[in-house]
């Protein structure tokens, strides 16, 4: 269980970091979304993982820490709004700058002969 959660967070973070370092805005936005997912899972697990615990409150069962759940809810809402903003900004950058490179120009790739 711990291993599974840790692996999920690790893989999400690694993929998110890789995508965030890409040169075009679409993968970067995707990467940021993955990072947000990873961070939500991570906060969720900061209240310790409990198996077979009470869903809310039940006598005789271990009660999970409710605070991380509240924190995750806040983080999800904020992350959602920020992702929406990033998407809109990327589309505006595509319109204003004429390409979807994060630097606003594809000069470095022209030098490689990759694109004209």
């Amino acid at each position: 269980m711990e291993m599974l959660v840790a692996l999920a967070i690790g893989i999400l973070t690694a993929s998110g970091t890789f995508l965030t370092l890409r040169g075009r805005t679409f993968p970067v936005v995707l990467g940021l979304t993955l990072l947000a997912y990873a961070v939500n899972l991570f906060i969720f697990s900061s209240g310790r993982l409990v198996i077979d615990g009470a869903a809310v409150l039940q006598q005789g069962l271990p009660v999970p820490d409710p605070l991380p759940q509240a924190l995750v809810l806040t983080a999800i809402v904020i992350g959602f709004a920020m992702t929406a903003f990033a998407v809109i900004l990327s589309m505006r950058a595509r319109a204003d700058l004429g390409n979807d490179h994060v630097d606003g120009s594809i000069r470095s790739q022209q030098n490689d002969g990759d694109q004209r």
Binding site: V39, F42, L67, I78, F85, A93
Partner: protein
């Protein structure tokens, strides 16, 4: 329980909402008046809070009467009150400047400025680490939109970098919060400061990781060395009044380091005492160095101003690295000075770029400015204050920071860096000033009308330079008391849990 501490959050929030609704929304004149009035009230509240905190009273406001460590608390102590006052002055001056025409270039300018102020004020008041994250996000999302106010290619390009960097920063902030909550078990700053002393083993190591992750987050806000590349371009492209308010944003990062790392991971934190100081030394010195070199190589006045912001951040970091009450006191004085003078320089460069046609604020030979005398004097005084020349506040600020270095190692690393950076700033300003005002060709054919409102806004900020050196005595008394109070909080965080010392 007095409701005064929550007013700096409520006033901009209500003003921002009301500005979006019909009676105020319909005309620009109403928006201008309403936002200036609410900024004035905000300034008044900040002054009252400062007066109240100057008596040594610490107002701990439990939101919804949920008491710490479970509820969210707002802390209005000397440090918060000082930062709130700085924000309120900047907000008023920025709105005043914008009301002379800048607000016509895009929609929703005033509500966004209000929400930005809401986020900044909240970040300065909160005593809860997660609540700090929420206020960070509020100020960030407002700043994202303000950055592209007026539109244009350069603004969009700078905004893409700024937004993506800060989204990654927010993700790191949340990771840090998860680590810190998982190891320390609380998010109330005072409660954390108590609990961190009893940590041991794996929990201690985790808390250390969390604390250093928080340093990365605050370092990104403050533009600390490896994280400063976004600043010059972002600040150079954003509209003048917006950047004037942004001048406080880097200080938000410094403030958080004082509050979080000073109290939770500070001198009294047991096994992880003074967590960030070993890291701060090198970054502080290198931040000053890169800022100074950048200032010399700046192609435009706004870039120069951006690099000087980085130099001032480095100066503040070196004071934090020394980490004595005297150094913290010096840092606070210098922070107040550099915020106001830096904001003034951004507004001055905006005025200069308006009067030079296509050359804008680029440091190249071009047509003369329309008002060489008035603008020249304003520029000259701003430059003197920022360089740190004797009659003005920058001199006293830098002197205090240098005086607070006491050991041989501290002196040998801070003195040369600070003095050489000052020389570099002097050279950069001499070059910029002589090119902008004297190396002019042709005639200024345009009949440019410059409204006196803009000058009023600039001088509102610039008056601080002589006033802060004239009243340096009382101000330094206040900052010294602030540093002592911060030390007291770090030593006995119980004060903040038991509802303050009334």
């Amino acid at each position: 329980m007095s409701h005064l501490p929550i007013l700096p959050i409520l006033i901009p929030m209500l003003a921002g909402i009301l500005l979006l609704l019909p009676p105020l929304r319909t005309t620009l004149t109403r928006q201008r008046i309403a936002s200036l009035v609410s900024a004035g009230i905000n300034l008044l509240v900040a002054v009252v809070l400062l007066n109240q905190s100057a008596t040594g009273e610490v107002a701990v406001y439990a939101v919804g009467d949920w008491h710490p460590p479970y509820g969210i608390v707002l802390i209005a102590d000397r440090l918060s009150a000082l930062m709130l006052l700085l924000t309120a002055i900047l907000l008023f001056a920025a709105l005043l400047y914008a009301s002379a025409g800048e607000d016509e270039t895009g929609r929703f300018f005033y509500p966004l400025m209000m929400f930005q102020a809401l986020g900044i004020n909240g970040a300065f008041l909160t005593g809860d680490l997660f609540n700090l994250f929420v206020f960070f996000e509020i100020l960030l999302i407002a700043s994202y939109s303000l950055l592209i106010h007026g539109g244009g290619k350069h603004k969009t390009r700078a905004a893409v970098h700024y937004v993506f960097l800060n989204l990654v920063g927010s993700a790191i902030f949340l990771f840090a919060l998860g680590v810190v909550y998982g190891s320390i078990g609380s998010l109330n700053m005072a409660d954390m400061a108590l609990r961190v002393r009893e940590l041991s083993g794996a929990e201690l190591e985790l808390a250390k990781v969390g604390g250093l992750l928080l340093l990365v987050v605050f370092g990104l806000k403050a533009a600390m060395l490896p994280l400063q590349f976004w600043l010059p371009r972002t600040y150079a492209t954003a509209p003048g009044p917006v950047v004037a308010l942004f001048a406080i944003l880097t200080k938000v990062g410094i403030y958080c380091m004082m509050r979080v790392h000073g109290m939770i991971f500070g001198d009294y934190a047991g096994d992880i005492a003074d967590l960030i100081q070993p890291w701060l030394w090198a970054t502080a010195i290198l931040t000053i160095a890169i800022g100074a070199i950048g200032a010399l190589s700046s192609p435009s006045l706004k870039r120069l101003a951006g690099h000087l912001v980085i130099v001032s951040v480095g100066t503040l970091l070196s004071a934090l690295a020394i980490n004595t009450p005297a150094a913290i006191s010096a840092a606070l004085y210098y922070a107040a000075h550099s915020t106001l003078a830096g904001a003034a320089l951004f507004l001055v460069s905006e005025l200069i770029s308006e009067q030079r046609g296509g050359a804008l604020d680029m440091i190249v030979r071009s047509r003369p400015v329309a008002q060489p005398v008035a603008l020249g004097i304003t520029f000259f005084i701003t430059a003197l204050a920022l360089i740190g020349m004797p009659p003005f506040s920058g001199f006293i600020g830098k002197l205090m920071v240098m005086q607070s270095a006491t050991t041989m190692m501290q002196m040998s690393s801070t003195w040369p860096t600070l003095l050489i950076a000052t020389l570099f700033a002097l050279v950069a300003f001499s070059r910029a000033g002589s090119t902008l005002f004297w190396r002019a060709t042709g005639k200024n054919s345009d009949n440019i009308k410059v409204s006196s409102t803009k000058y009023a806004a600039i001088w509102l900020l610039l008056l601080a330079a002589p006033l802060m050196s004239l009243f340096a005595g009382p101000i330094v008394d206040f900052t010294a008391a602030t540093a002592a109070q911060l030390d007291q909080f770090a030593q006995t965080p119980e004060i903040l849990l038991n509802g303050g010392n009334r």
